[in-house]
């Protein structure tokens, strides 16, 4: 056992001491884990931050030490003389603290006495500097950066006692007993002509140097157990296993429905408050409908409940809702935020991914009340369970929901490392409520997690199957995908595959018949060439000043000026009587840039337009062209993308003669012609540089360009090599007319296969191994800066993996849900609580560490956590407990008194009231309008969205709005594209699902107002609701308004509301009667238009989108 010499130099450092940085020896009670909880339970309601009684605060170490109005609360070392002790131990009930009730229990009083006495002992022995508290933090902050790990600078490693004492290249740096002789001190003081340490860093503060000196002078005592502070961790409350407390007694026992009420009410009563009255039946019904199913009650469901006079009508309703298939949809929402579930990969391209089976797995698991331990096991390591089912494999999609960067040029290892970092951080947040992510780069600054812990956790995920792959230019890692065809799809696919194989063979095999056909085809290609006659120019002009020179064969070369845009006009007599084709040949020429056919710096050219005109003496008339074909280059008849023929000749092997053929609608009978080549490229001079025009009367003028130039050189030649022979025959097989039908069928089969649209899921698969998985610590979190090898393990501060657990991913899952884990159950019940009341018992539901908020009701949290485990991790059991408590059933009306005493409703002396989350807003609006589809599960859908939201680089994926039922599905089914999320989701504080999100914020913004007023989805709902009111709401306006209130808010309209809206509706009708054109646009006649406006108002009420 290590000794704990502790120094207390001033009261100021006692905070640190008491905050638990030092584990007290067994006989010395720990302030943090033993004393403070007593104070919190019994004293803090009066003696805490806000207006403490007698100015004494007992909610922190500082407060206790400072004392109150009557002076110091404790006399260190003398419990008998301490006022605090006298007060709690007083035999006189009138003087005894806490004032009401039986006072503290005897063992609590004894513990406090022992603690007061131990403060003295600690203080008395407090003359020495303590390594763990005073020295290690300095070394950590200023020296470990270079002097730790396996390759420390100057071979000096300061994070381990043996190496630190041995010293580095220059010998020992610490001489116990003499700071004067210790080089460590020389260097940090910058004496002795050597640069001051930390090298290039912030110098140590004088008091830090003084502390180091004192420590060395006192003998540089370095307890073996304190090599790294991490091994002597403090026990923050959250790292201590919860023990089920006894529910406290309360004054108004009649208000207690279950132990939740004992805990809450006891606290409320301390404040001199009580519960609010019960919410009205209709409000309560709406609240519990929304909480358990995410949907408002339909009028009939509401009526059934209101009519149910049985004393347990409410509990019956709760049970019915817990059994509803919509329960899973509602509760999957927060889980999908945690799982960062999305339908796309994220980052630049943000391609789609097929993952909805995972979403449906979550919904089903929640519906069947899968115990949380099983729920965890399946998602972390379902693939590793014995005889894993398809569903268990799908569940591993949890950690396949990470983002995935496919951008050209990413580093495969870096990108995969980021995926792994996310897996560790998310596991930490979701199950441990801990910010492990901070330890990626350095030991956690506040919480007892080390970098070693981080990478040991990462090692659990390091045996996951992945294979490197070239994806275009980008090397990436591919993880397993589960292919899930239905039996019918599977059979269909097999049939298609077999047929495609046959067809592929047929279209690729030469037969004697085909040989003959090829010979005839080659001849036709050759013949075609012979029927072209060159055009000899009679007159050439260039609009922008280029010089054109022609030779006797009609070959024209451009020179001189290099205008950006140009138009050549060539006048000629056509060399054939009835020209059925006009050809432009562009030829490479060494006089042009890079020896190409074009004039741009690369030798390319671009023709944006070609005009053919003829004249019979009465002026030029354009010739209509019906077809355009070329042997290479991008081309199009209608000047698409600004060109009709663009040729890339930038590479040497591309500098070849090229041909373009224009086919006139009718043979050109007039011989007098003029041809204009226009180049209006936006780039620098891109005109063609060396070219020739020709004409033919062949009936099939495009034959000549059916083969590429390189192939043309081989056509009809004898003595071809085997390779050349193959090249020609391979090409021929792609055009052979006798194979046309086979080729068509093959193409069709391929398309059919694509259309099968077989579902898949992203899953994890473990590689077979007997080794414990390992990974490497990364210096400062850089993916390539590998340091120590670490084996899969759990953070040192938490209970170790037990002997019967294999240290692999499945072991991690088992450990997470082991009953010794102090965090998992607390973190999980806290999140459930948060959904109901708007904030958790620990408000920072994502952080149970020292920087998070302390629980408002620690005993309640522990009670719920243990209850959760005792009830077999049943989430529905906890849901039921909460919604059947008196606390939950309170009215949420805010009174000035409750507002003043407890603005944020932390004590829950009133019911919860807050704006719904994005999905619930959508679902409620659709449900009220009657449009909502009740279909559960299936591929994600595309509700109406304004154009232009999807605009991803290198991805021309188009948002196609769903029609029919899929247009009106619940929000949870809306396609989630990470880089371009659905606007309504984002406007109402939904996350983009790039990272694990525990808590959503609740904002009120004008964008939300515009969204609900004007979005097409909202407007369709208003129109539909107008129809619903007419159909179901009775004959007169007042009953329709009342019905509208019921479907939107779950209650009847009040007379004032009814009066106002009836008048509003009448005014609207009057307006639309006077403006029928407006009415028509809104929804038809004036009556429906007026009701559409009423519905729009009702769907925008604060109450409609609020759970109250």
């Amino acid at each position: 056992m290590r000794q704990t010499p502790v120094v207390i130099e001033a009261l100021a450092v006692m905070g640190l001491l008491f905050a638990g940085a030092c584990p007290a020896a067994a006989q010395q009670p720990s302030f943090d884990t033993q004393i403070l909880p007593i104070f919190q339970e019994s004293c803090a309601s009066c003696h805490s931050a806000s207006r403490p009684q007698a100015q004494l605060r007992l909610d922190s170490a500082e407060g206790v030490l400072k004392g109150g109005k009557s002076g110091p609360a404790i006399v260190p070392g003398n419990s008998g003389a301490s006022l605090l002790y006298q007060k709690i131990a007083s035999a006189d009930a009138k003087l005894r603290m806490p004032p009401a009730g039986a006072g503290l229990r005897a063992e609590q009083i004894a513990l406090i006495a022992a603690w007061i006495d131990s403060v003295s002992r600690q203080t008395a022995g407090a003359t020495r500097v303590d390594y763990a508290h005073n020295i290690e933090p300095i070394l950590r902050a200023s020296c470990y950066g270079c002097h730790s790990g396996t390759q420390p600078k100057s071979q000096l490693r300061l994070d381990i006692k043996s190496t630190a004492m041995r010293g580095g290249i220059g010998g020992a740096v610490i001489v116990p007993g003499s700071s004067e002789k210790s080089r460590l001190i020389q260097r940090v003081e910058g004496r002795g002509g050597e640069p001051r340490m930390p090298f290039n860093g912030t110098p140590l503060a004088p008091e830090q140097i003084a502390t180091l000196k004192r420590w060395i002078d006192e003998g540089a005592e370095w307890p073996e157990s304190a090599e790294a502070r991490d091994q002597a961790p403090p026990k923050h409350w959250a790292y201590v296993k919860p023990v089920k407390p006894t529910p406290p007694t309360v004054k108004h026992a009649a208000l207690v429905r279950n132990p939740i009420d004992n805990f809450l009410l006891a606290r409320i009563e301390q404040e001199g408050l009580s519960y609010s009255s019960e919410a009205s039946k209709e409000k309560l019904a709406r609240r519990v409908f929304l909480d358990l199913t995410g949907l408002p009650p339909a009028p009939a469901e509401l009526d059934a409940f209101l009519a149910d006079a049985r004393p347990d009508a409410y509990e019956r309703l709760v049970d019915k809702l817990l059994a509803s298939q919509h329960f899973g949809e509602r509760w999957a929402r927060p889980w999908l935020d945690l799982a960062r579930y999305a339908d796309s990969n994220g980052y630049e391209k943000d391609d789609r991914r097929d993952v909805w089976k995972y979403r449906d797995w979550v919904i089903n698991a929640l519906n069947s009340d899968m115990p949380f331990d099983e729920f965890t096991l399946d998602q972390i390591a379902g693939d590793m369970l014995p005889n894993a089912t398809e569903q268990q494999n799908i569940a591993t999609g949890f950690h396949r929901n990470t983002q995935f960067n496919e951008e050209g040029g990413v580093d495969r290892d870096e990108s995969y490392f980021e995926v792994q970092v996310d897996r560790v951080a998310t596991t930490g947040t979701v199950w441990l409520g801990s910010t492990l992510g901070c330890a990626q780069c350095h030991n956690h600054k506040f919480d007892p997690f080390t970098q070693r812990d981080f990478y040991s956790m990462m090692a659990f995920f390091n045996n996951v199957d992945k294979r490197p792959e070239e994806n275009g230019e980008t090397p990436i890692y591919i993880e397993p995908v589960l292919d899930m065809p239905t039996p019918a799809q599977k059979a269909h696919r097999e049939k298609l595959d077999a047929r495609m194989k046959e067809l592929a063979e047929q279209t690729q095999t030469m037969t004697p018949e085909l040989k003959a056909e090829q010979a005839a085809w080659e001849k036709s290609v050759l013949d075609a060439e012979r029927r072209w006659r060159p055009i000899i120019p009679e007159k050439m002009t260039a609009a922008a000043g280029t010089t054109l020179t022609a030779d006797a064969q009609g070959l024209i070369i451009a020179g001189g000026e290099m205008p950006r845009n140009e138009a050549y006009t060539i006048e000629c007599k056509l060399p054939v009587r009835a020209a059925k084709g006009i050809r432009l040949e562009a030829l490479p020429n060494p006089k042009l840039p890079r020896g190409g056919p074009g004039r741009d710096p690369y030798g390319n050219f671009n023709i944006t337009q070609i005009k053919i005109e003829v004249s019979d003496g009465s002026g030029w008339k354009p010739v209509a062209v019906k077809k355009l074909a070329a042997d290479t280059g991008a081309r199009s008849l209608e000047q698409k993308r600004g060109h009709i023929w663009m040729v890339d000749a930038s590479r040497e092997d591309q500098r070849l003669p090229r041909q373009l053929v224009l086919v006139p609608e009718k043979p050109i009978a007039t011989r007098e012609a003029r041809i204009t080549l226009v180049q209006e490229s936006e780039f620098s001079c891109q005109s063609v540089g060396y070219f020739r025009l020709s004409a033919t009367d062949d009936k099939d003028p495009v034959t000549v360009v059916n083969v590429s130039h390189s192939l043309r050189a081989l056509i009809g030649k004898s003595g071809r090599t085997e390779d050349q022979e193959k090249k020609v025959s391979d090409y021929f097989l792609t055009v052979a007319s006798s194979l046309q039908s086979a080729r068509d069928e093959l193409k069709q089969a391929k398309e059919e296969k694509k259309k099968l649209d077989i579902t898949s899921a992203l899953v994890m698969r473990e590689r077979p191994t007997f080794d414990r998985p390992y990974d490497f610590i990364r210096i400062r979190g850089g993916f390539s800066a590998k340091a120590d090898k670490v084996y899969a393990n759990v953070p040192a501060i938490l209970p170790p993996l037990s002997e019967d657990i294999m240290p692999n991913r499945l072991g991690l899952a088992r450990w997470l849900v082991s009953k010794d884990n102090p965090l998992t159950a607390r973190v999980a019940v806290n999140r459930i609580w948060e959904q109901y009341f708007g904030h958790g018992i620990v408000e920072t539901s994502e952080d149970f560490g020292t920087q998070g908020q302390r629980p408002s009701h620690p005993e309640l949290l522990d009670w719920l956590a243990v209850e959760f485990m005792d009830r077999g991790w049943s989430m529905k059991a906890i849901d039921r407990l909460i919604v059947t408590s008196t606390a939950y059933r309170q009215s949420s009306t805010v009174t000035p008194e409750s507002q003043a005493k407890d603005q944020y409703n932390r004590l829950l002396a009133r019911g919860p009231r807050f704006r719904m989350e994005a999905e619930m807003v959508r679902d409620t609006v659709l449900a009220a309008s009657g449009l909502l589809s009740s279909k559960i599960g299936g591929p994600s859908v595309f509700p109406p969205q304004p154009p232009g939201i999807w605009d991803m680089p290198y991805n021309d994926d188009v948002y196609v709005e769903s029609q029919g039922e899929d247009r009106y599905r619940r929000g949870i089914y809306t396609f989630a594209r990470r880089s371009a999320p659905y606007p309504t989701m984002i406007n109402f504080d939904g996350p983009s699902r790039e990272q694990c999100t525990v808590r959503r914020t609740h904002t009120n913004t004008p964008l939300q107002a515009l969204n609900l007023l004007n979005d097409e989805a909202s407007w369709e709902a208003a129109r539909a609701m107008a129809g619903r009111l007419a159909k179901e709401g009775g004959a007169d306006a007042r009953s329709r308004i009342d019905y509208g209130y019921r479907v939107a808010t779950g209650r009847h309209a009040k007379p004032g509301e009814m009066d106002y809206l009836a008048k509003y509706e009448a005014e609207q009708q009057e307006h639309f009667n006077a403006h029928p054109e407006e009415a028509k646009k809104v929804s038809g006649d004036a009556v429906t238009a007026a009701w559409t406006m009423v519905a729009n108002v009702l769907l925008n009420l604060d109450e409609t989108i609020t759970k109250e």
Binding site: C438, Q899, H1002, T1003, M1093
Partner: protein, 485 residues
């Protein structure tokens, strides 16, 4: 209806119809309610409050920022950082020791140095050296500070853009505009405090995370003014709903919501009413703002704008109009500066020239226009991309088009106004522009400097999330003194 409700109704009606028609201010509305109810309310803030101007850490001249984000990585070596040595050694293999152990996005093997195909000249009294591709910038160069020594840690587009905007390479942190509006709010209550506009090809590679609010309340995320359709999503009323019809429905909503508030007492309802009134005001203020047709001809000539046609130039003019109205942070994205030379269409000869034609005139006009209106002193203009480009020709797949790969070690940006020292060039790269030789400026330094000019101490502008105080500059960042006027 209770007496209280009736009274409330009377008061609100009087307010609405007594004041200038429909244009009642949010302030008038909020005054109807007990101001005590508008105390700090955790996790739920009404828009007007979230964006209300807040005092900076210390007095500052710079009030607004217009950030012209040139997504894709403009080639500094062909625009700002003239390297005669590169021209001299054009086509020579890159010295091996320079690239030993380096990682590139696309370059494989030993690349060849690439001299700029564009001419450089000296301009202005400051004698700043610029490529001829920037004829308009050259005319205002004395108002501008050029920084040639920026460096980043990321060399792929999406992470680098996200890093440049949020100080962290993985999506999910608050962006610069979100931090600034979180810190000091915005002057205009009728418009969002942080506006984003896009031009060029697609959205930027980093997606909407580039202007996200991360863990800050979503009030602070950038609001996109869109190139087509409604300038702000859902701004227009549905067909057949006139502003008068909308006003009537908002009156109904206000009445019903106020009545409900009287019943249940929750101050959140008042903030929702405020949000609806603000939405109504945006329906008038935004189209008025977005309509540039009434700008005089000389302004259109100056920027190269065509009303009704989506362009970077139009966005620049809109940015000026936004800043005139007190909008705090305006960010323009123009994507397309990626010039690898893999094809004719994305090289440093043709594409770069075209991008300059698309952006140079309006960027320079913006600075000149702000200056002539006396707004340049209080408005900082930032021009730049997420990283630079290599001194070597990429020659991807043997391509003969001239192009450069991504380069994170050194690149250039320019800044003007808002307390930026005019007419200076800061920083120097080595002979071939590979490494920084003098005055390195990290992305976090740029952030720290921009915040400083806005009166914000970057280490104090923090937000507690998951147990940690986060800031835009993470754990780094130094104010670049040489950039300060």
């Amino acid at each position: 209806m209770t007496d209280d409700q009736r009274r409330l109704l009377d008061i609100t009606r009087r307010h609405f119809f007594g004041q200038a028609g429909f244009g009642i201010g949010a302030a008038a509305l909020t005054s109807l309610f007990n101001p005590a109810l508008f105390g700090e309310s955790q996790g739920s803030t009404d828009e007007a409050r979230a964006m209300a101007p807040k005092p900076p850490h210390f007095p500052a001249k710079c009030k607004n920022v217009i950030y012209l984000f040139m997504a894709g990585g403009p080639s500094q070596l062909d625009l700002f950082d003239y390297k005669p040595a590169l021209t001299k050694f054009d086509g020579q293999p890159c010295p091996e020791d320079l690239i030993k152990g380096e990682r590139f996005a696309f370059i494989k093997g030993i690349p060849k140095l690439l001299g700029s195909p564009h001419h450089f000249e000296k301009y202005g009294e400051s004698g700043a050296e610029l490529s001829v591709l920037l004829p308009h910038l050259s005319k205002i160069v004395d108002d501008v500070a050029i920084v040639r020594s920026l460096h980043t840690t990321q060399f792929n587009h999406a992470p680098a853009q996200i890093f440049m905007n949020t100080g962290h390479q993985i999506p999910g942190r608050p962006s610069m505009g979100a931090w600034v509006t979180y810190g000091i709010g915005s002057e205009n209550a009728d418009l969002p405090g942080f506006v984003v506009m896009l031009s060029g090809q697609n959205q930027p590679d980093g997606g909407r995370s580039c202007w996200g609010s991360g863990f800050l309340p979503s009030d602070y995320q950038g609001v996109e003014f869109r190139r087509a359709g409604d300038p702000v999503l859902f701004l227009s009323n549905p067909d057949g709903v006139t502003p008068e019809t909308r006003r009537h429905s908002l009156d109904a909503l206000r009445f019903l919501n106020s009545a409900h508030q009287t019943d249940v007492g929750d101050p959140e309802i008042a903030s929702r009413i405020g949000a609806y009134e603000m939405a109504f005001k945006m329906q008038t203020s935004v189209p008025e703002l977005a309509d540039i047709s009434k700008e005089p001809a000389n302004i259109h000539e100056m920027y190269g704008t065509t009303p009704g046609k989506a362009s970077f130039a139009n966005n620049c003019l809109l940015a000026r109009r936004l800043v005139e109205r007190g909008v705090r942070f305006v960010q323009l994205y123009h994507r397309g500066w990626d010039t690898h030379g893999a094809s004719n269409n994305e090289d440093i000869v043709n594409k770069l020239a075209r991008l300059c034609r698309d952006t140079d005139r309006a960027s320079a006009a913006l600075v000149a226009d702000l200056k002539q209106r006396g707004l340049l002193d209080s408005t900082m203009v930032i021009w730049g991309g997420e990283f630079g480009r290599t001194p070597m020709n990429e020659a991807r797949g043997g391509s003969k088009f001239l192009g450069r790969d991504h380069h994170a070690r050194a690149f250039s940006m320019w800044l003007a106004g808002g307390g930026i020292k005019p007419g200076v060039t800061i920083g120097r790269t080595d002979e071939v522009g590979y490494n920084i030789a003098e005055d390195p400026v990290a992305v976090h330094d740029l952030h720290a400097t921009a915040l400083h000019l806005m009166g914000l101490e970057h280490k104090r502008l923090t937000y507690r999330f998951q147990g940690r105080d986060f800031r835009l500059t993470d754990v780094e960042g130094e104010v670049i003194k040489k950039l300060l006027a």
